[in-house]
Amino acid sequence: MFVRTNGEEALGVLPLISHPVSQGRLCHRGWNRFQNLRSLNRINRPLLRDGNQAKEVGWEEAFQKIKEKLSGILSSYGPQAIGIIGSPWLTNEDNYLTSLFAQHVLTTDNVDGTYRFGGASALSALERTFSGALGSLGSIPSLNESPAILLLGHESFRDFSPVGSRIVQAFLKGSKVILAEPCSRRAEHFYAHQLTESLAGLSFALQEKGAIPDGVWDSLSQAGMGLVFVADQVSPASNLNSLLSVLLQRLPAHNKALNLLTLSRSPNLRGAWDMGIKPGKQGLNLQEMLDADSKIKGLLVFADDVLAHLPSSAMIEKLKKLEFLLVADRFVTKTSQIAHCVLPIPLLAESDGTMTNCEGRVQMLRPALPKRGESRSLLEVLGDIAGRLGKALAYRSGLEVRGAMSAQIPLYQKISSASELDGILLPSSKLNGAASAAIQKPKISEGKFVLVIPNTLNAWNRNQMILESPVLNIEYPSDRLGIRMNPQDARDLKLRMGEKVKIKSERGEAHAPIDLDNTVPSMTLVLPSHFIDVVEGVAGNGDVDPETKSLFYPNLYVSVEKI
């Protein structure tokens, strides 16, 4: 897309008609993308915090403090006491540098992103099914050629219009669009079938005779079928592995082609993952770094509001008690407000670099606006900190970083010339033999409600881009605490909107008001995961995905009682 400016500030946005993905179309976040570029809620100068007081300082003073703190932790506890958080809101070049900074400057293996709790499970599962590092797994422009498309969750269609657009086109051409959605019974005319299973139960239902409507299997057994899902909603990884295993078994032996699109609410999930923003061999992931007993003393956070993306109150407490928290970001966030040192970095619209989209297309960003305030690129910031610690990050420009990336990361070999606006597709991923995974029959508890806890840590109304835009703030109002329930169920229990209930599972109980929603299926409750206190009350400490070692909240059977 083009950002239209008057040279100083953004005035609008226009999609490219000739771009193979957008083809002149954007979602409403895209059309209003210029608004957050005008926000005044920016970090303009470095800040140092002493207790509750934060003061603006010059870069020199900030660098001195950082050197002092990092040297102190390194000499007292060693490099493994420091953790680094990269971000899907950074370019590939900045994430690659962050990863090098961890390996060669701090020599720590503790590198991760907040996508540990929303995306890592999906990407790990895909790496198991395909041959290691992920290339291009699908194609947005050719999704409209798929004979059938399986969507996991209503939002896979609704929230990502370049993909949704191809799904509509596929429907108009006669493709069978199948939705699996446990939280909503909204029947839209383009769905050939609507399954009520969540990802956890879908593989089993697809294998069980009579559990799914006639015709679903025939549709899903065609080569080139599309599978579209939002990465945040995949936990644990084994659920996706099971589904892929079942689907691949049914595809014709001579052609196992799948058009697989892993959507994300952040712009560069794939890029950050590919650039090595994940723990090294002996390293801790974000969950382990923020474990109460963890030896982490200092955390360096680049371009992410970690505090808003943590799924448990214990982790939030640990983050607040670190000896040293450094945040380099664009906007004032909850995390920057508790950081000991805050550094301003430029927005993506003020930077150049590449990003990798959900189909594995590496695209070029060019700066549309001048840098605001005293912000400095991560290249400058990390280079300076490295120098003060007696090490060197020997790159003078993004182009040099890109050269190193293409030399070191085989899939990204061709991106040093990624100057075309269309970008370059990574090579296609190959299937890693016959994928297989154990499929368990989901537990059923008669007479109880199913409590679904969708991952809302990255919901749009918690996204900095939305929070900084007046019109998008209206479109995505902050949600009030409420357990969504079908109105008929509420009538049966003699409950009214807003009335408090006690929900009780085998793991615990919690009190919360109910919110009536006639799209929620009967005997189903929906509780957004970011209401951490209530979620922890009813779901305890959650479960840990053995593959990614990250916390998630499975569906639970609960009883509901009027208080």
Binding site: G12, L16, I17, R25, Q35, P470, V471
Partner: protein, 366 residues
Amino acid sequence: MDTYLLKKTDLPRWVELIQKSNDVFAPSRVQGEVFFSPISFPPDLDLLTGTATLPYLPPKDFVFPQAEELFSFSQQGEEVKLEVPKISGRGTVLLGIRSCDITGIGWMDKFYQENFKDFYYTRRRENLTFISIACNQPVKNCFCVCCEGGPFLDPEHDEFDIQLVDLKENYLVESKSEKGKKLIALAPELFLKSAPSVKEIRDQLEEKSRQSFLTEPTSYMSFAIRRITENSVPPEVWTELGERCFDDGGCTFVCPCCSCFGVGYLSEGGKGCHYRFWDSCDYSGFTREVSGHNPRGEKGERFKRRFYHKLSYQYIKRDGRIGCVGCGRCITACPGEVGMPAVVERIRNSKAQRNYQSGKPEESLG
């Protein structure tokens, strides 16, 4: 109205003279996309021919920008200072705008100037002069012929400054407004008297252009106008169309006739500004009330309202025309493939829910 002939080779000379007191914008290619940009020399004559070439962003952006500061404020002690931003006093001339977009500007003029003169709109509009080019050849998404939006402007009934008609080596120049006449007076020696026979050629070109619109997307607008006005489109059709809408607002942003805006403010340390920005009736927040109640919470309801405003007789009577000029940009912008022609076609294919005149339910008007 005055008519002349202008040699195409003389166009750059005329533009040079216009530029002395005006900023001149014309369609130009930026990385393969067409924008109204400051004119370059020599001008890109490929984009100034009779073949319809529409920049994706409509020219309403010149009078109603996507984001426009209304006033800034600052506080020093007790004193609060308010300031309305100034704009350049130079005139702006848009060369190469198409008939549909001129019609769209006419619609915006009504909205922003008829009963209450919007200060910000008017000060930009007064500085703006248009040199449009009639379309001898429509392109893929054009359906202006169904909306009285083109392909030629009618000198008798349509308001315009200057219309050029591409005659291969020359342009036929039709000058109607005072603003247009002033531009011609800058270089009267370039404008030759046109022979009466040229009028015949012009009319033939217009007729040929009218005949060359594609079957799709030309649309049965009058049918949709009647159905929408009498409220006989079945609710399930609106629901179905609404399900295809992604609430992205793209159709309203690229529509030359959509005029809705929202107001936001930016503030920090006692300083800031209020600004207005394009808003969209696609958005659920457009009508949501402070209590949280939304009279048009369902997408089908919002969709119905949008097309009611565009096509119902109530608005045609008030505004003099439908709220669509047939430029086809909504076809490009809509991820759900429900731009204006697709909606009109869906309405045509639906059975009327009721006929108010006969009072008979479920009677087909088709």
